[in-house]
């Protein structure tokens, strides 16, 4: 049973790049450091979320409000500084499509490798399925990815990333595929993935999208929950989807 429970979770993001942490500064700095120096940023500030199966949570908020950091915290990329975090279920973080792709490898090799990274043993059947979804020519499987146009590349990466259902789906912005013909299909597949996942968390600036797909919207501001809005069951009219694309 998938579930996410965060209780008063905080995350202090250390600012390594901006600060001189060298040995010299450490030894000498104690003598004449100004008080109140900021070495960390509180990116997530006592957030409590309790998501049960069926939860569709939208994270809204301005840039830098901690949406992506919160998603990464749930995905296990960042350890929480304080608070309790309990997550069960297999998490599929779709935070960026390009992760792990190597442009020098052939498309087929890239797909196999990406599947292995997500913990699956690639089979020819999986490859064929994914390739069928991309609607690209069979022989292009053998070409290195650098030969692909950006649209084709997106097709391959999108098809691979969304090939398997997830218990917990984390989306940083709705994955958009810019190809006119393909995007309807991609939209449909992503929608289906959202429907079949037990818990979905989407971070987005697009309020319309969040309202259509989610049943709870959490507004973040400076890492805190500014407000939580509960919506009725999301309505998914194809008309609305088309509007969104236009």
């Amino acid at each position: 049973m998938a579930s996410i429970q965060l209780r008063d979770v905080c995350l202090d993001y250390p600012l390594y790049g901006a600060y001189d942490f060298s040995l010299k500064r450490r030894l000498l700095g104690r003598l004449f450091r100004q008080p109140g120096e900021m070495r960390t940023i509180r990116a997530v500030d006592s957030i409590t979320i309790d998501a049960k199966p069926g939860a569709r949570i939208g994270l809204a908020g301005p840039n830098g409000s901690g949406k992506s950091t919160l998603l990464r915290l749930i995905a296990g990329v960042f350890p929480a500084t304080s608070g309790e975090l309990e997550i069960s279920g297999n998490i599929v973080p779709l935070l960026g499509l390009g992760a792990g792709a190597n442009l020098d490898f052939t498309a087929a090799d890239n797909i196999s490798l990406l599947l292995r990274i997500s913990g699956r043993k690639p089979t020819q059947a999986m490859l064929d399925d994914i390739w069928a979804f991309t609607e690209l020519e069979e022989r292009m499987q053998r070409l290195p990815l650098r030969m692909f146009s950006s649209g084709m590349l997106m097709r391959v990466l999108f098809a691979t990333a969304t090939a398997f259902p997830a218990d917990i789906l984390l989306l940083d912005e709705w994955l958009s595929v810019v190809d006119e013909n393909f995007s309807a299909k991609a939209e449909q597949r992503l929608q289906k993935m959202v429907e079949t996942a037990a818990i979905v968390i989407i971070a987005s600036h697009d309020h319309g999208l969040l309202r259509r797909t989610c049943n709870t919207i959490i507004n973040l501001d400076h890492g805190r929950i500014a407000s939580t809005v509960s919506l009725d069951a999301p309505s998914l009219h194809p008309l609305e989807l088309r509007e969104k694309r236009a």
Binding site: R72, V77, N90, L95, A99, I117, R120, T123, A163, F164
Partner: protein
């Protein structure tokens, strides 16, 4: 294509239990047999069990293929069959559905370790573990894992789910399927009105002679009464029971009939006046045998257990239920029935009616089949959703470290395969490069010493290969995390994967380079294999040290950006100051720097045995000390690697 095949053949079920016909007879076995036979039109059944008899390994019982794994006897009621888990693991892949007849901890062991994850599992819960309660702490977590992984659990009565804490946790997947009995088998050839012998005093009991069946209670109950007791069945308690009968002087009234054929048993059921099931523990979950007695129209006396037993034959209607383990109450109940022929008849008829209406074999068969079909269908749907055939659809979620190593190995393998992409010379350009390096350095070094340059070439090549490995692993590790930033931050992969990847990848490359020393060694030395064998542990130690070093330095170089140039220059310095292309013999042996240099010893522990056949124990001790320190540092590093996402 796969779909058509699926339709054309019956899905196959593997029944997993500890024992099967012809080694033993009993309620659980007859249930398994009934499932195998009853579902043969829709499922192809196979059975995997243990056997002490040492007969044929593969036999056919009632058209069902049975594989019997050799067992050395029972230890704590469990067959001691060391190869059973192995055979089970091998067989899992051949079947579409696994049916585990619990309790059977030997099979739980296989499932607890996560094997057979790719096949749907149905657990037939026949009983809880009641004997050997002291081992519960060990067995229960395994059983829980099995149940968690099961797609469905079949129990014989809903009350079992309420009364078994372990089952309550998984109540949502429990299906109550009461066993069935073929009433027709117990039809009498002629039904006479004087069906019930008014003088009847024959008490029958059936079951394996094991403690939980409570036959000792029945024997005690017979003491100083005047009914006769016949007990059908065989088992390890026989000697004790015989002794008990002798002690009470009941040889004339109490008989142990041993095992009898099924047809004989049916006859005995028909002539008995009272049927008793004196079971004393909750290991008796249902009591198939009392259902058979009901089918034969016999009044039943059973015990008040927390299981389905008193629900199958209900107190005052089909049975008299007495407290378990109470000989007096049991004797009273038997005498009540013996003294009241009319009540016997009434109860017998009620029992037969209940067996016919509530516990039909058809209903049992259909409901088991429904559960099996549902589980197989769910699996097929899951597989279809995943867009792949069933076996590979689930991600392997085995322990974090195992999957980290698997992913690291996959990445390293891919790195190696792509190393030759767009290369001019193909796979072994690295080896050629190594060969050239050895040739050039060898000819130069040859002038330093008076020894033959050619004889030293194999060792030089081996040292260079090893150094290249260590050098590249450490250098790769310093940049590995930054290069994989997107995988760490966007795919949430554990950072340690990418440090392991460096060692794995360079190990694969080193294998290519190793061709050069190998050829030189074969061509130029007397090919003494024993030296090479003694060198192996040292080589393993070398690799482990390299791995630990890469973990520590890789993490440090990512956290503190000035470490990387320091490491680079140190490596060059180390290469020149350590006996890699030269040997300690060439220079003053007393050099203090050389003696304190860990690299000297790291190379000595495998080079010395290779050259001389002797293991330098001093160097081994030195290396082990360094490794201990490195291991501590590695553990600390891996703990801190959780924060690696902040550093990149």
């Amino acid at each position: 294509m796969t779909m058509v095949n699926e339709l054309a053949r019956r899905p196959s079920v593997l029944h997993i239990f500890k024992v099967y016909y012809p080694d033993l007879f009993g309620g659980t076995l007859s249930v398994i047999r009934d499932i195998c036979v009853g579902l043969k039109d829709s499922f192809a059944a196979a059975v995997l069990v243990c056997s002490q008899s040492g007969g044929e390994r593969r036999i056919v019982v009632n058209d069902v293929a049975v594989e019997r794994v050799h067992s050395f006897g029972d230890v704590l009621s469990l067959p001691a069959a060391p190869t059973y888990p192995w055979r089970l693991w091998r067989r899992i892949a051949e079947h579409d559905l696994l049916a585990l007849h619990a309790p059977f901890p030997l099979a739980d062991l296989v499932f607890a370790f996560g094997f057979g994850r790719r096949r749907p599992l149905v657990v037939h819960w026949h009983a809880d573990i009641v004997s050997h309660a002291a081992l519960r702490w060990f067995v229960e977590p395994m059983m829980r894992r099995t149940l968690r992984r099961a797609a469905a659990i079949i129990v014989s009565d809903p009350v079992l789910v309420e009364n078994t804490p372990l089952l309550r946790e998984f109540a949502d997947k429990c299906h109550a399927v009461p066993f069935g009995v073929d009433v027709a088998k117990y039809d009498r050839p002629v039904l006479r009105p004087a069906d019930v012998n008014s003088r009847g005093r024959l008490v029958l009991a059936c079951g394996r002679l094991v403690p939980y069946k409570g036959f000792d209670v029945l024997i005690r109950a017979a003491h100083s009464r005047n009914f006769e007791v016949w007990i059908v069945g065989e088992g390890r308690e026989r000697d004790q029971l015989e002794q008990l009968i002798r002690d009470y002087g009941l040889q004339d009234r109490v008989r142990l009939l041993g095992s009898v054929p099924e047809s004989e048993r049916v006859k005995l059921m028909r002539i008995a006046d009272v049927f008793v099931m004196p079971s004393v523990t909750n290991a008796e979950t249902f009591g198939l045998v009392q259902l058979e007695a009901m089918a034969a129209g016999r009044p039943v006396i059973n015990t008040a257990l927390d299981t389905g037993v008193p629900y199958v034959a209900r107190n005052g209607i089909e049975a008299i239920t007495v407290p378990a383990g109470d000989p007096n109450a049991l004797a009273e109940a038997i005498e009540t029935l013996i003294d009241d022929p009319e009540r016997r008849q009434r109860m017998g008829q009620a029992g037969r009616h209940r067996a016919m209406t509530k516990y039909s074999t058809t209903a049992f068969k259909e409901r088991v089949e429904t559960v099996y079909r549902m589980v197989v269908a769910e699996e097929a749907i899951a597989a279809k959703d995943a867009g792949s055939p069933a076996p590979a659809s689930r991600p392997h979620t085995a322990g974090g470290l195992v999957s980290a190593i698997q992913i690291a190995a996959a990445l390293a393998w891919s790195d190696m395969r792509h190393r030759y992409v767009r290369s001019l010379l193909g796979p072994f350009w690295m080896s050629i490069q190594m060969a050239i390096m050895v040739a050039v350095l060898g000819s130069v070094i040859g002038h330093f010493s008076n020894a033959s340059a050619v004889a030293r070439l194999p060792m030089l090549a081996a040292s260079l290969t090893a150094w290249t490995f260590l050098n590249s692993v450490v250098l790769d590790a310093t940049t590995a995390l930054q290069n994989s930033a997107s995988l760490i931050k966007d795919r949430a992969l554990p950072p340690v994967i990418f440090l392991l990847q460096c060692t794995f990848r360079q190990a694969l490359f080193a294998l290519h380079n190793a061709v050069v020393p190998l050829i030189l060694w074969l061509a130029l030395t007397p090919r003494d294999i024993s030296g090479a064998l003694v060198a192996l542990p040292g080589l393993v130690l070398f690799i482990v040290c390299t791995l630990a070093l890469s973990l520590v330095l890789g993490a440090l170089a990512t956290r503190y950006r000035d470490i990387k140039p320091i490491i680079e220059s140190s490596l060059t310095l180390a290469f020149l100051s350590s006996p890699i292309i030269w040997t300690p013999e060439m220079i003053d042996r007393g050099s203090r720097v050389m003696r304190f240099n860990p690299l000297t010893h790291l190379f000595a522990i495998w080079r010395d045995p290779l050259a001389t056949g002797h293991v330098p124990m001093g160097s081994v001790a030195y290396v082990l000390t360094c490794l201990a320190a490195l291991a501590v540092a590695s553990v600390v590093t891996v703990a801190h690697l959780r924060k690696a996402a902040f550093w990149i």
